[in-house]
Protein backbone atom coordinates (compact mmCIF):
# COMPACT_ATOMS: atom_id res chain seq x y z
CA UNK A 1 0.00 0.00 0.00
CA UNK A 2 1.35 3.40 -0.97
CA UNK A 3 0.94 5.95 1.76
CA UNK A 4 1.16 9.68 1.41
CA UNK A 5 1.65 10.16 5.11
CA UNK A 6 3.81 13.13 5.85
CA UNK A 7 4.04 12.10 9.48
CA UNK A 8 3.61 8.74 11.05
CA UNK A 9 3.18 7.79 14.69
CA UNK A 10 4.31 4.29 15.55
CA UNK A 11 3.68 2.52 18.84
CA UNK A 12 3.93 5.74 20.77
CA UNK A 13 3.98 5.58 24.56
CA UNK A 14 4.39 8.75 26.56
CA UNK A 15 5.20 8.91 30.25
CA UNK A 16 5.01 11.69 32.77
CA UNK A 17 7.37 10.24 35.33
CA UNK A 18 5.89 6.81 36.08
CA UNK A 19 2.53 7.78 34.68
CA UNK A 20 1.68 6.39 31.24
CA UNK A 21 -0.16 9.30 29.61
CA UNK A 22 -0.44 7.96 26.07
CA UNK A 23 -0.71 4.26 25.29
CA UNK A 24 0.44 2.63 22.08
CA UNK A 25 -0.73 5.26 19.62
CA UNK A 26 -0.53 4.48 15.91
CA UNK A 27 -1.70 6.92 13.29
CA UNK A 28 -0.66 8.67 10.10
CA UNK A 29 -0.96 12.33 9.23
CA UNK A 30 -1.54 12.60 5.53
CA UNK A 31 -0.02 15.28 3.31
CA UNK A 32 -2.23 18.20 2.40
CA UNK A 33 -5.04 16.99 4.58
CA UNK A 34 -6.43 18.15 7.88
CA UNK A 35 -6.20 15.55 10.62
CA UNK A 36 -8.26 16.30 13.70
CA UNK A 37 -7.77 14.92 17.17
CA UNK A 38 -10.85 14.97 19.40
CA UNK A 39 -11.68 13.70 22.85
CA UNK A 40 -12.82 14.84 26.28
CA UNK A 41 -10.63 17.00 28.53
CA UNK A 42 -7.67 15.14 29.91
CA UNK A 43 -7.69 12.45 27.22
CA UNK A 44 -4.15 13.33 26.18
CA UNK A 45 -4.91 15.06 22.88
CA UNK A 46 -2.89 18.20 23.65
CA UNK A 47 -0.06 16.09 25.02
CA UNK A 48 -0.16 14.10 21.81
CA UNK A 49 0.06 17.05 19.44
CA UNK A 50 2.89 18.62 21.45
CA UNK A 51 4.86 15.42 21.03
CA UNK A 52 4.66 15.85 17.26
CA UNK A 53 7.05 18.82 17.29
CA UNK A 54 8.87 17.89 20.47
CA UNK A 55 7.44 20.74 22.52
CA UNK A 56 7.10 18.29 25.38
CA UNK A 57 10.88 17.93 25.52
CA UNK A 58 10.71 20.85 27.93
CA UNK A 59 8.80 18.81 30.52
CA UNK A 60 11.11 17.32 33.07
CA UNK A 61 10.71 13.61 33.70
CA UNK A 62 8.74 12.98 30.53
CA UNK A 63 9.68 10.11 28.24
CA UNK A 64 8.72 9.09 24.73
CA UNK A 65 8.77 5.52 23.45
CA UNK A 66 8.09 4.43 19.89
CA UNK A 67 8.70 6.52 16.80
CA UNK A 68 7.38 9.70 15.26
CA UNK A 69 8.34 9.87 11.61
CA UNK A 70 8.48 12.99 9.50
CA UNK A 71 9.04 12.01 5.88
CA UNK A 72 10.34 8.67 7.11
CA UNK A 73 12.83 10.15 9.59
CA UNK A 74 12.31 9.59 13.31
CA UNK A 75 12.18 13.04 14.90
CA UNK A 76 13.20 11.60 18.26
CA UNK A 77 16.33 9.95 16.87
CA UNK A 78 19.42 11.09 18.80
CA UNK A 79 21.14 12.65 15.78
CA UNK A 80 18.13 14.82 14.96
CA UNK A 81 18.34 18.54 15.73
CA UNK A 82 15.25 19.50 17.69
CA UNK A 83 15.48 23.11 16.49
CA UNK A 84 15.34 21.95 12.89
CA UNK A 85 12.32 19.74 13.68
CA UNK A 86 10.42 22.64 15.18
CA UNK A 87 11.24 24.77 12.18
CA UNK A 88 9.73 22.14 9.89
CA UNK A 89 6.73 21.49 12.13
CA UNK A 90 5.13 24.76 13.16
CA UNK A 91 2.66 25.21 15.97
CA UNK A 92 -0.25 27.49 16.80
CA UNK A 93 -1.22 27.47 20.45
CA UNK A 94 -4.46 27.47 22.36
CA UNK A 95 -3.92 30.90 23.83
CA UNK A 96 -2.81 33.33 21.16
CA UNK A 97 0.70 34.37 22.11
CA UNK A 98 2.02 37.12 19.87
CA UNK A 99 5.26 38.64 21.13
CA UNK A 100 4.97 42.13 22.62
CA UNK A 101 6.44 43.55 19.43
CA UNK A 102 5.03 45.17 16.34
CA UNK A 103 2.94 43.14 13.92
CA UNK A 104 5.82 43.26 11.46
CA UNK A 105 8.45 42.16 13.98
CA UNK A 106 6.31 39.30 15.22
CA UNK A 107 6.63 37.70 11.82
CA UNK A 108 10.13 38.92 11.06
CA UNK A 109 11.41 37.35 14.30
CA UNK A 110 11.03 33.79 13.00
CA UNK A 111 12.73 34.76 9.75
CA UNK A 112 15.66 36.46 11.46
CA UNK A 113 16.39 33.62 13.86
CA UNK A 114 16.38 31.30 10.88
CA UNK A 115 19.09 33.34 9.24
CA UNK A 116 17.11 35.50 6.84
CA UNK A 117 18.48 39.01 7.19
CA UNK A 118 17.85 40.51 3.78
CA UNK A 119 15.44 43.35 4.43
CA UNK A 120 13.65 43.09 1.10
CA UNK A 121 13.09 39.38 1.56
CA UNK A 122 11.78 39.88 5.09
CA UNK A 123 9.33 42.54 3.90
CA UNK A 124 8.14 40.27 1.10
CA UNK A 125 7.66 37.28 3.33
CA UNK A 126 5.88 39.26 6.04
CA UNK A 127 3.42 40.45 3.41
CA UNK A 128 2.96 37.00 1.90
CA UNK A 129 2.35 35.29 5.20
CA UNK A 130 -0.09 38.00 6.31
CA UNK A 131 -1.97 37.52 3.04
CA UNK A 132 -1.93 33.76 3.50
CA UNK A 133 -3.34 34.13 6.97
CA UNK A 134 -6.09 36.48 5.72
CA UNK A 135 -4.88 39.30 7.94
CA UNK A 136 -3.22 41.58 5.38
CA UNK A 137 -6.32 43.62 4.52
CA UNK A 138 -6.87 44.45 8.18
CA UNK A 139 -3.32 45.38 9.16
CA UNK A 140 -1.46 46.50 6.02
CA UNK A 141 -1.45 50.16 7.05
CA UNK A 142 -0.39 49.56 10.65
CA UNK A 143 2.35 46.97 10.55
CA UNK A 144 4.25 49.00 13.16
CA UNK A 145 1.43 48.79 15.67
CA UNK A 146 1.94 46.56 18.67
CA UNK A 147 0.40 43.13 18.23
CA UNK A 148 -1.49 43.56 21.49
CA UNK A 149 -3.70 46.14 19.79
CA UNK A 150 -5.25 43.43 17.63
CA UNK A 151 -8.41 41.58 18.59
CA UNK A 152 -8.18 38.01 19.88
CA UNK A 153 -9.05 36.52 16.51
CA UNK A 154 -6.59 38.77 14.72
CA UNK A 155 -3.89 37.86 17.22
CA UNK A 156 -4.46 34.19 16.52
CA UNK A 157 -4.24 34.80 12.76
CA UNK A 158 -1.03 36.74 13.39
CA UNK A 159 0.32 33.67 15.19
CA UNK A 160 -0.65 31.62 12.15
CA UNK A 161 1.10 34.13 9.88
CA UNK A 162 4.16 33.90 12.10
CA UNK A 163 4.16 30.13 11.77
CA UNK A 164 3.64 30.30 7.98
CA UNK A 165 6.47 32.78 7.42
CA UNK A 166 9.20 30.23 8.04
CA UNK A 167 7.54 27.84 5.58
CA UNK A 168 7.09 24.73 7.67
CA UNK A 169 5.95 21.44 6.20
CA UNK A 170 3.44 20.64 8.88
CA UNK A 171 1.39 22.99 11.05
CA UNK A 172 -0.01 21.82 14.37
CA UNK A 173 -2.97 23.62 15.88
CA UNK A 174 -3.61 23.10 19.58
CA UNK A 175 -7.24 24.15 20.14
CA UNK A 176 -6.67 27.39 18.22
CA UNK A 177 -10.26 28.64 18.56
CA UNK A 178 -11.04 27.75 22.14
CA UNK A 179 -10.81 31.38 23.26
CA UNK A 180 -12.41 32.95 20.19
CA UNK A 181 -15.89 34.13 19.31
CA UNK A 182 -17.87 32.33 16.56
CA UNK A 183 -17.00 34.84 13.82
CA UNK A 184 -13.27 34.70 14.51
CA UNK A 185 -13.56 30.93 14.74
CA UNK A 186 -15.22 30.78 11.33
CA UNK A 187 -12.40 32.84 9.83
CA UNK A 188 -9.75 30.54 11.26
CA UNK A 189 -11.58 27.44 10.07
CA UNK A 190 -11.84 28.90 6.59
CA UNK A 191 -8.16 29.68 6.74
CA UNK A 192 -7.20 26.16 7.80
CA UNK A 193 -9.22 24.85 4.89
CA UNK A 194 -7.20 27.01 2.49
CA UNK A 195 -3.88 26.20 4.12
CA UNK A 196 -4.15 22.48 3.52
CA UNK A 197 -3.45 23.03 -0.16
CA UNK A 198 0.11 23.89 0.75
CA UNK A 199 0.59 22.38 4.20
CA UNK A 200 -0.10 19.27 6.17
CA UNK A 201 -2.26 20.09 9.14
CA UNK A 202 -3.09 18.47 12.45
CA UNK A 203 -5.54 20.10 14.81
CA UNK A 204 -6.62 19.35 18.34
CA UNK A 205 -10.11 20.49 19.18
CA UNK A 206 -12.69 19.81 21.83
CA UNK A 207 -15.31 21.13 19.47
CA UNK A 208 -16.67 18.13 17.58
CA UNK A 209 -18.52 20.22 15.04
CA UNK A 210 -15.27 21.93 14.22
CA UNK A 211 -13.57 18.62 13.56
CA UNK A 212 -16.51 17.53 11.40
CA UNK A 213 -16.43 20.79 9.43
CA UNK A 214 -12.76 21.12 8.65
CA UNK A 215 -10.98 17.78 8.90
CA UNK A 216 -10.44 14.92 6.50
CA UNK A 217 -9.38 12.45 9.15
CA UNK A 218 -10.32 12.28 12.79
CA UNK A 219 -8.78 10.45 15.69
CA UNK A 220 -10.77 9.96 18.89
CA UNK A 221 -8.74 9.86 22.08
CA UNK A 222 -9.98 8.60 25.42
CA UNK A 223 -7.90 8.21 28.59
CA UNK A 224 -4.63 8.24 26.70
CA UNK A 225 -5.65 5.76 24.06
CA UNK A 226 -6.51 6.28 20.42
CA UNK A 227 -9.90 4.59 20.32
CA UNK A 228 -10.60 5.09 16.66
CA UNK A 229 -8.94 6.73 13.70
CA UNK A 230 -10.60 7.03 10.33
CA UNK A 231 -11.97 9.35 7.69
CA UNK A 232 -13.89 12.13 9.40
CA UNK A 233 -17.05 11.23 7.55
CA UNK A 234 -16.90 7.68 8.80
CA UNK A 235 -16.19 8.71 12.41
CA UNK A 236 -19.16 11.05 12.51
CA UNK A 237 -21.68 8.95 10.59
CA UNK A 238 -20.75 5.39 11.24
CA UNK A 239 -18.16 4.95 13.99
CA UNK A 240 -16.84 1.46 14.54
CA UNK A 241 -16.48 1.71 18.31
CA UNK A 242 -19.16 2.16 20.90
CA UNK A 243 -17.10 4.75 22.85
CA UNK A 244 -16.69 6.92 19.76
CA UNK A 245 -20.39 6.83 19.12
CA UNK A 246 -21.17 7.70 22.73
CA UNK A 247 -18.83 10.66 22.57
CA UNK A 248 -19.95 12.14 19.26
CA UNK A 249 -23.59 11.75 20.13
CA UNK A 250 -22.94 13.66 23.32
CA UNK A 251 -23.57 10.86 25.76
CA UNK A 252 -20.48 11.86 27.70
CA UNK A 253 -17.64 14.34 27.54
Amino acid sequence: MVTTNRMEVKNLNFYYGQNLALKDINMGIESNKVTAVIGPSGCGKSTFIRILNRMNDIIIGSRVEGAILLDGQDIYAPEVDVVEIRRKIGMVFQKSNPFPKSIFDNIAYGLRINGINNKGEIIDRVETSLKNSALWEEVQDRLDANASELSGGQQQRLCIARALAIEPEVILFDEPCSALDPISTAKIEELINELKEKYTIAIVTHNMQQAARISDYTGFFLLGELIEFDKTEKIFTNPAKKQTEDYITGRFG
Binding site: N53, M55, I58, I60, V83, E84, R86, R87, G90, M91, F93, K95, N97, P98, F99, P100, Y109, G110, I113, N114, N146, A147, S148, C159, R162, A163, I166
Partner: protein, 287 residues
Protein backbone atom coordinates in the same frame (compact mmCIF):
# COMPACT_ATOMS: atom_id res chain seq x y z
CA UNK B 1 -30.73 46.94 63.05
CA UNK B 2 -28.44 46.99 66.06
CA UNK B 3 -26.36 44.32 64.48
CA UNK B 4 -25.93 46.38 61.36
CA UNK B 5 -24.87 49.44 63.31
CA UNK B 6 -22.32 47.42 65.23
CA UNK B 7 -20.90 46.07 61.97
CA UNK B 8 -20.52 49.58 60.66
CA UNK B 9 -18.74 50.74 63.79
CA UNK B 10 -16.34 47.82 63.51
CA UNK B 11 -15.66 48.70 59.91
CA UNK B 12 -15.00 52.34 60.79
CA UNK B 13 -12.61 51.28 63.53
CA UNK B 14 -10.77 49.05 61.11
CA UNK B 15 -10.39 51.82 58.57
CA UNK B 16 -9.25 54.23 61.27
CA UNK B 17 -6.52 51.83 62.41
CA UNK B 18 -5.26 51.38 58.85
CA UNK B 19 -5.37 55.10 58.11
CA UNK B 20 -3.53 55.93 61.32
CA UNK B 21 -0.77 53.45 60.56
CA UNK B 22 -0.24 54.96 57.12
CA UNK B 23 -0.24 58.43 58.61
CA UNK B 24 2.28 57.54 61.32
CA UNK B 25 4.70 56.19 58.74
CA UNK B 26 4.30 59.29 56.65
CA UNK B 27 4.88 61.53 59.66
CA UNK B 28 8.02 59.66 60.71
CA UNK B 29 9.48 60.00 57.23
CA UNK B 30 8.47 63.65 57.15
CA UNK B 31 10.10 64.41 60.50
CA UNK B 32 13.27 62.64 59.42
CA UNK B 33 13.55 64.61 56.21
CA UNK B 34 12.65 67.87 57.91
CA UNK B 35 15.21 67.31 60.67
CA UNK B 36 17.97 66.54 58.18
CA UNK B 37 16.99 69.37 55.91
CA UNK B 38 16.95 72.04 58.57
CA UNK B 39 20.28 70.99 60.03
CA UNK B 40 21.98 70.15 56.79
CA UNK B 41 20.93 72.94 54.47
CA UNK B 42 22.92 75.54 56.43
CA UNK B 43 26.28 74.27 55.21
CA UNK B 44 25.24 73.27 51.71
CA UNK B 45 26.37 75.46 48.87
CA UNK B 46 28.20 74.91 45.60
CA UNK B 47 31.59 74.89 47.31
CA UNK B 48 30.44 72.27 49.81
CA UNK B 49 29.61 69.90 46.94
CA UNK B 50 32.69 70.58 44.82
CA UNK B 51 35.58 71.34 47.17
CA UNK B 52 38.04 69.28 49.16
CA UNK B 53 37.77 69.29 52.96
CA UNK B 54 39.84 71.99 54.59
CA UNK B 55 41.39 72.80 57.98
CA UNK B 56 41.37 69.28 59.36
CA UNK B 57 37.81 68.60 58.21
CA UNK B 58 36.31 71.57 59.99
CA UNK B 59 35.48 73.46 56.83
CA UNK B 60 35.56 73.10 53.07
CA UNK B 61 33.61 70.60 51.02
CA UNK B 62 32.81 66.91 50.79
CA UNK B 63 33.57 66.40 47.11
CA UNK B 64 35.95 63.43 47.60
CA UNK B 65 33.31 61.62 49.66
CA UNK B 66 30.65 62.12 46.99
CA UNK B 67 33.06 60.97 44.31
CA UNK B 68 34.11 57.96 46.40
CA UNK B 69 30.54 56.87 47.00
CA UNK B 70 29.90 57.22 43.27
CA UNK B 71 32.90 55.05 42.37
CA UNK B 72 32.11 52.40 44.96
CA UNK B 73 28.50 52.16 43.88
CA UNK B 74 29.30 51.99 40.19
CA UNK B 75 31.96 49.38 40.86
CA UNK B 76 29.52 47.27 42.88
CA UNK B 77 26.93 47.42 40.09
CA UNK B 78 29.45 46.65 37.35
CA UNK B 79 30.43 43.55 39.26
CA UNK B 80 27.08 42.40 40.64
CA UNK B 81 24.67 43.20 37.82
CA UNK B 82 26.04 40.91 35.09
CA UNK B 83 26.82 38.17 37.58
CA UNK B 84 23.41 38.41 39.22
CA UNK B 85 21.47 38.50 35.95
CA UNK B 86 23.35 35.53 34.56
CA UNK B 87 22.84 33.53 37.75
CA UNK B 88 19.14 34.36 37.69
CA UNK B 89 18.82 33.33 34.04
CA UNK B 90 20.52 30.06 34.79
CA UNK B 91 18.30 29.33 37.75
CA UNK B 92 14.99 30.22 36.11
CA UNK B 93 15.55 29.23 32.49
CA UNK B 94 18.11 26.47 32.37
CA UNK B 95 18.52 24.63 35.62
CA UNK B 96 16.44 21.58 36.39
CA UNK B 97 14.18 22.71 39.22
CA UNK B 98 15.19 20.31 41.96
CA UNK B 99 16.89 20.04 45.30
CA UNK B 100 20.13 21.70 44.23
CA UNK B 101 18.43 24.80 42.89
CA UNK B 102 16.22 24.98 45.97
CA UNK B 103 19.31 24.83 48.14
CA UNK B 104 20.96 27.61 46.13
CA UNK B 105 17.81 29.74 46.49
CA UNK B 106 17.82 29.24 50.25
CA UNK B 107 21.51 30.14 50.28
CA UNK B 108 20.83 33.36 48.39
CA UNK B 109 18.00 34.30 50.73
CA UNK B 110 20.28 33.77 53.69
CA UNK B 111 23.00 35.81 52.07
CA UNK B 112 20.52 38.68 52.00
CA UNK B 113 20.12 38.59 55.76
CA UNK B 114 23.80 38.46 56.68
CA UNK B 115 24.64 41.59 58.71
CA UNK B 116 26.57 44.11 56.65
CA UNK B 117 29.48 44.28 59.11
CA UNK B 118 30.06 40.57 58.44
CA UNK B 119 30.34 41.36 54.74
CA UNK B 120 32.89 43.99 55.73
CA UNK B 121 35.01 41.46 57.61
CA UNK B 122 34.66 38.99 54.77
CA UNK B 123 35.79 41.62 52.28
CA UNK B 124 38.75 42.47 54.49
CA UNK B 125 39.82 38.84 54.68
CA UNK B 126 39.27 37.93 51.05
CA UNK B 127 39.85 41.02 48.93
CA UNK B 128 42.06 43.24 51.05
CA UNK B 129 44.33 40.60 52.55
CA UNK B 130 44.11 37.37 50.57
CA UNK B 131 43.77 38.90 47.08
CA UNK B 132 46.09 41.73 48.14
CA UNK B 133 43.88 44.44 46.65
CA UNK B 134 44.50 46.47 49.77
CA UNK B 135 42.05 48.98 51.16
CA UNK B 136 40.80 50.20 47.82
CA UNK B 137 37.89 51.02 45.54
CA UNK B 138 38.22 47.52 44.10
CA UNK B 139 37.95 45.74 47.46
CA UNK B 140 35.07 47.96 48.56
CA UNK B 141 33.18 47.57 45.29
CA UNK B 142 33.50 43.80 45.34
CA UNK B 143 32.34 43.63 48.95
CA UNK B 144 29.35 45.87 48.25
CA UNK B 145 28.68 43.90 45.07
CA UNK B 146 28.46 40.63 46.97
CA UNK B 147 26.16 42.27 49.42
CA UNK B 148 23.64 43.35 46.76
CA UNK B 149 23.88 40.15 44.72
CA UNK B 150 20.87 38.58 46.47
CA UNK B 151 18.76 41.68 45.76
CA UNK B 152 19.72 41.64 42.10
CA UNK B 153 19.30 37.89 41.69
CA UNK B 154 15.89 37.89 43.31
CA UNK B 155 14.66 40.91 41.34
CA UNK B 156 15.93 39.34 38.12
CA UNK B 157 14.36 35.98 38.87
CA UNK B 158 11.02 37.58 39.60
CA UNK B 159 11.20 39.64 36.42
CA UNK B 160 12.08 36.56 34.36
CA UNK B 161 9.30 34.47 35.87
CA UNK B 162 6.79 37.21 35.03
CA UNK B 163 7.46 36.75 31.31
CA UNK B 164 4.57 34.57 30.07
CA UNK B 165 5.53 31.04 29.16
CA UNK B 166 3.58 31.40 25.92
CA UNK B 167 6.35 33.68 24.60
CA UNK B 168 8.96 31.02 25.23
CA UNK B 169 6.86 28.30 23.61
CA UNK B 170 6.07 30.45 20.59
CA UNK B 171 9.71 31.24 20.07
CA UNK B 172 10.85 27.63 20.43
CA UNK B 173 8.09 26.48 18.06
CA UNK B 174 9.51 28.83 15.42
CA UNK B 175 12.80 27.00 15.51
CA UNK B 176 14.60 29.32 17.90
CA UNK B 177 17.24 27.84 20.15
CA UNK B 178 16.88 28.19 23.88
CA UNK B 179 19.55 30.87 23.92
CA UNK B 180 17.89 32.87 21.12
CA UNK B 181 14.62 32.63 23.01
CA UNK B 182 16.19 33.93 26.20
CA UNK B 183 18.27 36.62 24.53
CA UNK B 184 15.68 37.97 22.11
CA UNK B 185 12.34 37.30 23.77
CA UNK B 186 12.64 36.67 27.51
CA UNK B 187 15.33 39.17 28.48
CA UNK B 188 13.91 42.20 26.63
CA UNK B 189 10.61 41.60 28.41
CA UNK B 190 12.24 41.19 31.81
CA UNK B 191 14.79 43.99 31.59
CA UNK B 192 12.52 46.62 33.15
CA UNK B 193 12.11 44.60 36.33
CA UNK B 194 15.77 43.69 36.40
CA UNK B 195 16.92 47.29 36.08
CA UNK B 196 14.47 48.45 38.72
CA UNK B 197 15.81 45.82 41.12
CA UNK B 198 19.36 46.76 40.34
CA UNK B 199 18.77 50.46 40.94
CA UNK B 200 17.06 49.77 44.26
CA UNK B 201 20.17 47.76 45.08
CA UNK B 202 22.28 50.79 44.22
CA UNK B 203 20.25 52.93 46.58
CA UNK B 204 21.00 50.51 49.36
CA UNK B 205 24.68 50.18 48.60
CA UNK B 206 25.27 53.92 48.40
CA UNK B 207 24.31 54.30 52.05
CA UNK B 208 26.16 51.30 53.50
CA UNK B 209 28.97 52.00 55.94
CA UNK B 210 29.97 48.71 57.48
CA UNK B 211 31.04 46.86 54.32
CA UNK B 212 33.43 49.63 53.30
CA UNK B 213 34.72 50.32 56.79
CA UNK B 214 37.70 47.96 56.45
CA UNK B 215 37.76 47.50 52.70
CA UNK B 216 37.72 50.88 50.99
CA UNK B 217 37.07 53.90 53.14
CA UNK B 218 39.54 56.29 54.58
CA UNK B 219 38.86 59.07 57.00
CA UNK B 220 40.79 61.67 55.14
CA UNK B 221 42.85 61.84 52.01
CA UNK B 222 44.55 64.75 50.34
CA UNK B 223 44.16 63.49 46.82
CA UNK B 224 41.34 62.14 44.72
CA UNK B 225 41.54 58.44 43.76
CA UNK B 226 43.56 57.76 40.62
CA UNK B 227 43.06 54.01 40.21
CA UNK B 228 40.88 51.15 41.44
CA UNK B 229 43.55 50.45 44.02
CA UNK B 230 43.21 53.87 45.67
CA UNK B 231 41.47 54.15 48.97
CA UNK B 232 38.63 56.62 48.97
CA UNK B 233 36.47 58.76 51.15
CA UNK B 234 32.77 57.86 51.08
CA UNK B 235 29.71 59.70 52.33
CA UNK B 236 28.43 57.27 54.97
CA UNK B 237 31.85 56.71 56.44
CA UNK B 238 32.65 60.40 56.28
CA UNK B 239 29.56 61.10 58.38
CA UNK B 240 30.58 58.43 60.88
CA UNK B 241 34.11 59.77 61.10
CA UNK B 242 33.00 63.38 61.53
CA UNK B 243 30.78 62.39 64.43
CA UNK B 244 33.27 60.16 66.24
CA UNK B 245 36.72 61.57 65.59
CA UNK B 246 38.45 64.92 65.34
CA UNK B 247 38.76 67.82 67.71
CA UNK B 248 36.13 70.31 66.58
CA UNK B 249 32.82 68.58 67.23
CA UNK B 250 30.73 71.64 66.59
CA UNK B 251 32.01 72.42 63.10
CA UNK B 252 32.25 68.73 62.23
CA UNK B 253 28.67 68.09 63.26
CA UNK B 254 27.40 70.74 60.89
CA UNK B 255 29.32 69.18 58.03
CA UNK B 256 28.04 65.73 59.00
CA UNK B 257 24.45 66.90 58.73
CA UNK B 258 25.21 68.50 55.39
CA UNK B 259 26.75 65.25 54.17
CA UNK B 260 23.74 63.30 55.49
CA UNK B 261 21.40 65.51 53.53
CA UNK B 262 23.46 65.01 50.39
CA UNK B 263 23.47 61.26 50.94
CA UNK B 264 19.75 60.98 51.50
CA UNK B 265 18.95 63.17 48.51
CA UNK B 266 21.27 60.96 46.47
CA UNK B 267 19.53 57.75 47.61
CA UNK B 268 16.04 59.18 47.16
CA UNK B 269 17.09 60.41 43.74
CA UNK B 270 18.31 56.96 42.78
CA UNK B 271 15.04 55.42 43.97
CA UNK B 272 13.15 58.04 41.99
CA UNK B 273 15.03 57.02 38.86
CA UNK B 274 14.08 53.40 39.57
CA UNK B 275 10.42 54.38 39.83
CA UNK B 276 10.55 56.34 36.58
CA UNK B 277 12.17 53.42 34.76
CA UNK B 278 9.65 50.98 36.22
CA UNK B 279 6.76 53.16 35.12
CA UNK B 280 8.26 53.51 31.67
CA UNK B 281 8.47 49.74 31.21
CA UNK B 282 5.08 49.23 32.79
CA UNK B 283 3.54 51.52 30.20
CA UNK B 284 5.44 49.78 27.44
CA UNK B 285 4.45 46.34 28.64
CA UNK B 286 1.74 44.95 26.42
CA UNK B 287 0.69 41.73 28.02
Amino acid sequence: MDNRKWREIKQQMGFLALRTSALIIFIILGILLYFLFVRGIKVINWGFLTKMPENGMTSGGIFPAILGTFYLTMGAILFALPLGIMAAIYMTEYAVQGKVIRLIRIGISNLASVPSIVFGLFGLALFVNYCKFGVSILSGSLTLGIMILPVIIRASEEALLLVPNGFREASLALGATKWQTIYKIVLPNAIGGIITGAILGVGRVAGETAPILFTAATFYTMKLPNSVFSEVMALPYHIYALMTEGSHPKEQKAIAYGASLVLIVLVLGINMIAIVIRNYYRRKKKW
